[in-house]
Structures are given as structure tokens and as C-alpha cells.
């Protein structure tokens, strides 16, 4: 393995690890706040218990997200110093704002987690809301910075160096703006469905448990709405990619030859030697129609791009398809839930439906990883599209296999412990106080418990 490969693998591992916690850090606080708000409105002890349970998960997952995020901010420099030297001044603005958002999030998370007894109920709820909002803000700023790598703006190239830097124009780059809704909705969908899957699994065993029912409802609302909106944001993003990064889009869609009236292709195996996609199912004219609202529009193929500027087609396309399939499955389950709600006024009636929710539970996270792989691998061979190649940005420090092995082992260890803790939290089941208390109406003094 070359040092470049080691650096890329390590960066991919770090980002792939961190993104899971970042996504939960966006989604879970919102659910926690929704549950607490529900308790505020009704005085019902069930959502309060839920808020507390989700807060416990948030505490641990946020801490791991914070340390893995720290690793990333260092590794940007440890692995890609030439990129950072070049790009740091241009994308410093979103990173500074992200620092502020992260700070706010940490302050109010501390208040939320340790302030149950010290803050008034309203101040406590407001703290949770600030955590949820600043988590989203962090996500937005990081995605804007990442978008800049796809569509670099806000500078002029002068003998290979950036000149006339405009940090605001750089921050509001087209790719970043289109990626933001896709990432935030993706985070809500992933967290919502994962939590729904967990509680659906508990409901299979305890079908009448109000704790898990309420949890399932909140999680499905959040995940479901996001899953239904996600194809729209994805469509918007794809149209943007088609304009600004035709090679990336061509790789996603397996579009080897530039073609008028291009079909949408499902599955298939990229055949790089012959420049075609074998064994794919084609829907005629669909791709041209989706991208340009015109069935005869021309879609740029990989043949329009020099061979040495192709992204790894198989990986980018494979990941892209996995993402779409996962999204489709989540949207399908959401529609099913809507149908159940319409017919029976309850979503958790049939066992078959609960089993389906369990099955799609992990798919949001699979889609997040796949979508991220598609986005980053599809950008290759560039670290800054059209400006700097990834190979030219890597650190001169040799022996990167050592940190790769070390951090790889570290991530596996952390992941194992996190899963163990989550397993324990989930295994704890319905909180004891809810099993004893028959009447759901509990006065505000429950707050003091």
C-alpha cells in the first residue's frame, strides 16, 4: 500500500466513523426535544422518560462524535497539509462558524444533560432546542466546506495560487448549498429510522408498551417525513452535479457515452475496458428527463472527460445505487405507515409492519455512508475539483500505514464499546417508574425525580 493509499484509507475511515456520530448528533437531540416538549404539553410521564433515555444516548454519542471530530480536524493537516495550506484561507470561514456552533452545542448540551434539576423546565427545554439547532448548524457549515471541494468558488487562480479570495462566495458554493438539505434530511431519516427500528423490535415482544409505542411514533414521524423529502433534495443535488461535475454524475449513472435521451440505468456492472455498463436494467429517456426535464436532452458521458480524470466508476456508482435503494426502502415503509395511519389510526398494529421497520432501521445509516462514499469517491481524482489532485495534497511524511492500522484498531474498539452501551440502554427496556405507575397523568413534580 502506498502512502497516498494509506492516507486516503485513513481519512475515509475517520470520516466514515465520525459521520455516524455527526448524524446522530443532528437527529437525536431533535427527538429528545420533541419528546420533552410533548411532556410539557401533556404532563404525560412517558415522553419525559423517553427524553431522558434519548438524552443518555446523546451524551455518550456526542462525546465520541467530539473526539472523532477532533481527530478529523487534526488529520486534515496531518494527512493533507498542502490542501490545507492552499484551501485553509478560502474555507476558513465555514470552519470558524462551525467552531462557534460546536461551542454553543457543547455549552447547551452540558446544561441539558446535567441541568435537569437546576434549570426551570422551560429553560431546560430551550437548552435542548439550542443543542438541536446548533447541531444542524455545525452540519451545515461542514457540508458547505465540503461542497467547496466539489465546486471551488471565491478565488481566482494566479500561477497556480489562489488570488482575490472571497470567503463568503467560497462558503456559498453551488455544491455546498445543494448538499446541505440532502445531508440534514439524511441525518434525520437515518436517526429516525434507526430509533424506530429499535423500538419496533421491542414492540414485537411487548406490543402494548406505551413507552415503545410513543418512541416509535416520534421516530417514524421524523424519519418518515425526511425520507419522503429526501428524493426531492437528491434530485436537486443531482441536477447541480450534472452541471458542475459531469464526470461525477456520469460515474454515478454509469453513463459512459455522451448521449441524447439517456436512459436511467439500474444495477449493472461497469465495463471500463469497453466503456459500457453491462447487464443493467434501463428505463428509456428517464435520466435525461430527470436531469433536464426533457426526454431528449443530452447527458454528458465519461467519454467527454480525459481518462485520467475519471473517478473510480465502480465504487462511485455502486455506492450511489446502494444509497438510492436504501432511500427507496425507507420511503416505501413511510408510505406504508401513512396507509396504516389512515386506515387504523395507529401505525404499530401489524407485526409485519413492525418487522419491516426493523429491517429498514439500519438502512438510513447505510445510505449515509453510501451517499458520502459516492460524493467523495465521485470527486476523485481531485481534492479540489479541477484545481488540485488528491495525490498532490498528501503529506510527505512516510510510513502512514502505521497510523492507519492504529486508528483503524481504535475505531473498531470504540465502535464495539459504543454498540455494547447502546445494546445495554436498549436492553434496559421500559423505565421502571413507568412500569409501576398505572396512571399516565403525572404532575410536574415528576421532573424533580
Amino acid at each position: 500500500m502506498t502512502d497516498l493509499q494509506a492516507a486516503r484509507t485513513l481519512m475515509a475511515a475517520s470520516l466514515g466513523f465520525h459521520i455516524l456520530f455527526a448524524v446522530v448528533g443532528i437527529g437525536l437531540p431533535l427527538m429528545m426535544v420533541l419528546a420533552e416538549w410533548r411532556w410539557h404539553r401533556t404532563g404525560d410521564a412517558v415522553p419525559l422518560a423517553l427524553a431522558r433515555r434519548w438524552a443518555k444516548g446523546t451524551a455518550m454519542l456526542f462525546a465520541i462524535g467530539a473526539v472523532s471530530g477532533t481527530i478529523l480536524s487534526f488529520q486534515l493537516g496531518l494527512l493533507w497539509p498542502k490542501f490545507m495550506q492552499w484551501a485553509g484561507p478560502i474555507i476558513g470561514l465555514p470552519f470558524s462558524l462551525e467552531g462557534v456552533a460546536f461551542f454553543t452545542e457543547a455549552v447547551f448540551l452540558g446544561l441539558y444533560l446535567y441541568g435537569w434539576r437546576l434549570l426551570s423546565p422551560a429553560a431546560h427545554l430551550a437548552s435542548g432546542l439550542v443543542v438541536a439547532v446548533s447541531g444542524v448548524a455545525s452540519g451545515i457549515f461542514v457540508v458547505l466546506a465540503n461542497g467547496w471541494m466539489n465546486t471551488p468558488r471565491g478565488f481566482r487562480l494566479l500561477q497556480g495560487q489562489p488570488a482575490d479570495i472571497d470567503p463568503v462566495a467560497a462558503m456559498f458554493n453551488p455544491s455546498g448549498l445543494a448538499q446541505v438539505p440532502h445531508m440534514i434530511l439524511g441525518a434525520y431519516a437515518a436517526t429516525g429510522f434507526a430509533v424506530a427500528g429499535i423500538h419496533a423490535w421491542r414492540l414485537l415482544r411487548h406490543p402494548d408498551d406505551p413507552f415503545h409505542r410513543r418512541a416509535l411514533t416520534i421516530a417514524l414521524w421524523l424519519g418518515g417525513i425526511s425520507a419522503l423529502l429526501q428524493p426531492l433534495s437528491g434530485d436537486l443535488l443531482a441536477k447541480m452535479v450534472a452541471v458542475h461535475q459531469p464526470a461525477k454524475l456520469a460515474a454515478f449513472e454509469g453513463q459512459f457515452a455522451t448521449e441524447a435521451g439517456a436512459p436511467f440505468r439500474l444495477g449493472g456492472i461497469p465495463n471500463l475496458d469497453h466503456g459500457r455498463l453491462d447487464y443493467a436494467i434501463e428505463i428509456p429517456y428517464a435520466l435525461s428527463l430527470m436531469l433536464y426535464l426533457d426526454p431528449t436532452a443530452t447527458v454528458t458521458g465519461l467519454d467527454a472527460v480525459p481518462r485520467d480524470q475519471w473517478p473510480p466508476v465502480a465504487v462511485a456508482r455502486g455506492a450511489f445505487q446502494v444509497m438510492i435503494l436504501c432511500g427507496a426502502a425507507m420511503a416505501f415503509v413511510t408510505l406504508w405507515a401513512g396507509w396504516q395511519w389512515w386506515r387504523h389510526r395507529a401505525v404499530a398494529q401489524s407485526r409485519r409492519f413492525l418487522q419491516a421497520v426493523i429491517l429498514v432501521g439500519p438502512l438510513g445509516f447505510v445510505a449515509t455512508e453510501a451517499g458520502w462514499i459516492a460524493a467523495e469517491v465521485g470527486r476523485q481524482p481531485w481534492i479540489i475539483t479541477g484545481v488540485m489532485r488528491t495525490a498532490d495534497a498528501v503529506t510527505p511524511v512516510p510510513g502512514l500505514l502505521i497510523p492507519l492500522v492504529f486508528f483503524g484498531a481504535l475505531y473498531l474498539m470504540l465502535a464495539a464499546v459504543v454498540l455494547w452501551i447502546l445494546h445495554h440502554h436498549i436492553g434496559a427496556g421500559t423505565p421502571k417508574e413507568l412500569q409501576v405507575v398505572e396512571s399516565p397523568a403525572v404532575t410536574r413534580s415528576a421532573y424533580e425525580s
Binding site: F74, P89, G92, L93, G110
Partner: protein, 338 residues
């Protein structure tokens, strides 16, 4: 005042806040190792209680330092991250071990008693300030561009007496700050006295190390040596540090904990600022100054606006957090003497 200067000032302020809060948190974690015997549970509980609501906030200062460095002084960031790849990675290991094991330890899950979360937390807390010190010490010693062998490019810049001594010194300072803070957190009783003695011990070691460092800097960090010994302000800075150091130990001796904490934080701040002043205007000697390493003006302005707006948001929030959780330790007064 030039923009470069303002941004450099913001960087130094952030670093100071990180050392006074985040690095002190490492010290508190490292005191876990000294908790032995039947007093251990009480001591560890005090440390946990003091850290729990604020350690993640204190950690964010480091992220702001990093962001300021790469956004405003990208070539300095690159020089540090390249030449000091190894110690920076080891610093990261400490940060991750500390944070993760603290979170696991407090996740309400009854782990097998043999799982070493407490120990990992303590070890992470001990190595992080050491490697942070090594990184800062290497920067003070200078990072000349080198094109030699692996060792001369990536090992020699930090594997030298001065950086390693700064590492040890930073660790002791962390322990000192933490012990002094914990005397106030303890609010009387046996715990207060235990951490008082530890603070005095750490303070004496820190004072000795500070003088040793000065001597080592003659060879190891000539800019620092020249600044501290050859100038009026250098003499003044040494004098102030010594006075603050003695006051700190004296206050601890006479159980004036709040004054002790104040003096020790002052001593640490003056130490840090004397270093910065001594190598002025160099950010990473021998080539990179805050002027030739600075990003273009629009970037500096944007970053300053962002952080200025952020400060308006963050500082009141931080104030509120401290009002809620550190009411007694920050805004109260010492309990009446017995």
C-alpha cells in the same frame, strides 16, 4: 493595529483559555492516578463531579485554536502538522483516550470491573498535556525546513531536551492548575486538604522546572532565551512569574484557595505570554512570522467577523453555564476558617 496582530491576539487568547481550562481538565484526570487507598473513591468522585458538565466545552477551545491557525496562518499550520506529525498524533491519542473513556465510564452501564476505563481516562489525561507541551516546545525551538532523512525531518524537531522538557513542564502545570481548582471545588473537608498538599507539591516542582526550562532554552530555544534574559520586559516577566508562583504556593499554604487559584492562573498566563512575546513576531521560527504566514486580508476579516459574532453568542452562554454549575466555585467565597 494590523489585522494580523488582531488575529494573532485572538489565537493567543484562545490558546490561553484552552490551557487554563482544557489543559487543567487533563490535570484533573491525571490526578486519578494518585487516588489510592480508601480515599480514592471520594477523590475520583470530586474529579468527576468537577469535570462532567464542562469538559467538552473546555475542549472546544482547542478546536478554535486549530481553526484559527489553519484559516489565518495556513503555512504555520502546515509546518507544524508536517514536521510534528508524530507528537501531534500522540497528542490526539491522549485526547481520544481521555474523552472516550470518560464518556464510557459515565454511561450508566455496569461494565465489567476489570475494564480499565478509569485507568485509560487517567493515562489519556496524563499523556495529552505532555505531547501538547512537546508540540509547543518544538514550535518555540523552531521548525526549520529540512530535506534530510526521516529522522532529521520528522523526529529531531521534537526529540530534543527543550521540547521534551516543555512537555514535562506542561504536564506538571496541568496537575498544578487542576489541584488548585479542585481545592476550591472541594469546599472544605479532607478532600480540600489532600488537593492542597498536591497543589503545593506540584507548584514547587513547576517552579523548579520553570528555571530548568530557562537554562535549557539557551541551547534549545535561543529566541526564548534572548527574550527572557536580554531584555527589560524579559526580566520583568520572570519577576512577575516568580512573584505569582510564590504567591500561589503561599496562598495554598495559608488556605486562601481562591487567591491561590487566581495567582496560579496568572502565573501560567504570564509564562505563556512571555514565550509568545520572546519569539515575537515569529509564529513558527525561524521563518514564519505572523505577517508572512498570514492569510490574505479578506480571510482574516471574515474569520474575525465570524469569531466576533460567535463570541457575542458563546460568552453569555458560557457565563450562564458557569452560573448554573460553578456557582459556588466561581462566584462564591471560601467557607469560614476553622
Amino acid at each position: 493595529m494590523s489585522l494580523e496582530l488582531v488575529v494573532a491576539g485572538a489565537l493567543l487568547t484562545t490558546l490561553t483559555l484552552y490551557v487554563l481550562t482544557g489543559v487543567a481538565d487533563f490535570g484533573a484526570g491525571a490526578w486519578y492516578l494518585a487516588a489510592r487507598g480508601k480515599r480514592a473513591p471520594a477523590q475520583r468522585a470530586l474529579i468527576d463531579r468537577a469535570l462532567a458538565p464542562i469538559w467538552e466545552v473546555n475542549h472546544v477551545w482547542l478546536i478554535i485554536v486549530l481553526v484559527l491557525l489553519f484559516a489565518a496562518f495556513p503555512s504555520a499550520f502546515t509546518a507544524i502538522m508536517t514536521s510534528l506529525h508524530i507528537p501531534v498524533t500522540l497528542l490526539l491519542v491522549g485526547i481520544v483516550l481521555r474523552g472516550a473513556s470518560f464518556a464510557f465510564h459515565h454511561s450508566d452501564v455496569p461494565f465489567d470491573q476489570r475494564l480499565p476505563w478509569g485507568r485509560l481516562f487517567a493515562v489519556g489525561s496524563l499523556v495529552a498535556p505532555f505531547w501538547l507541551g512537546v508540540v509547543l516546545g518544538s514550535v518555540a525551538a523552531g521548525l526549520p525546513a529540512s530535506s534530510g532523512s526521516f529522522v532529521s525531518r520528522y523526529v529531531e524537531p521534537w526529540l530534543a531536551p527543550f521540547p521534551l522538557a516543555v512537555g514535562v513542564f506542561t504536564t506538571v502545570l496541568a496537575l498544578y492548575l487542576a489541584a488548585a481548582y479542585l481545592t476550591v471545588e472541594a469546599q472544605g473537608g479532607e478532600l480540600q486538604d489532600e488537593f492542597r498538599l498536591r497543589a503545593i507539591g506540584a507548584g514547587i516542582v513547576a517552579a523548579g522546572l520553570e528555571e530548568t526550562l530557562l537554562l535549557v532554552s539557551r541551547e534549545g530555544a535561543p529566541l526564548l532565551w534572548a527574550g527572557l534574559t536580554g531584555t527589560v520586559w524579559g526580566a520583568l516577566a520572570q519577576f512577575t512569574t516568580a512573584v505569582a508562583g510564590l504567591t500561589g504556593i503561599g496562598c495554598l499554604w495559608f488556605k486562601r484557595y481562591r487567591w491561590a487559584r487566581f495567582s496560579i492562573a496568572g502565573q501560567v498566563t504570564v509564562t505563556l505570554w512571555s514565550w509568545v512575546l520572546a519569539q515575537w513576531p515569529y509564529l513558527v521560527p525561524p521563518h514564519l512570522t505572523i505577517y508572512n504566514a498570514a492569510a490574505p486580508t479578506p480571510t482574516l476579516r471574515a474569520v474575525l467577523y465570524a469569531l466576533g459574532a460567535g463570541a457575542v453568542l458563546v460568552f453569555p452562554a458560557l457565563w450562564y453555564l458557569l452560573r448554573i454549575f460553578k456557582q459556588q466555585t466561581l462566584f462564591g467565597s471560601d467557607a469560614p476558617k476553622d
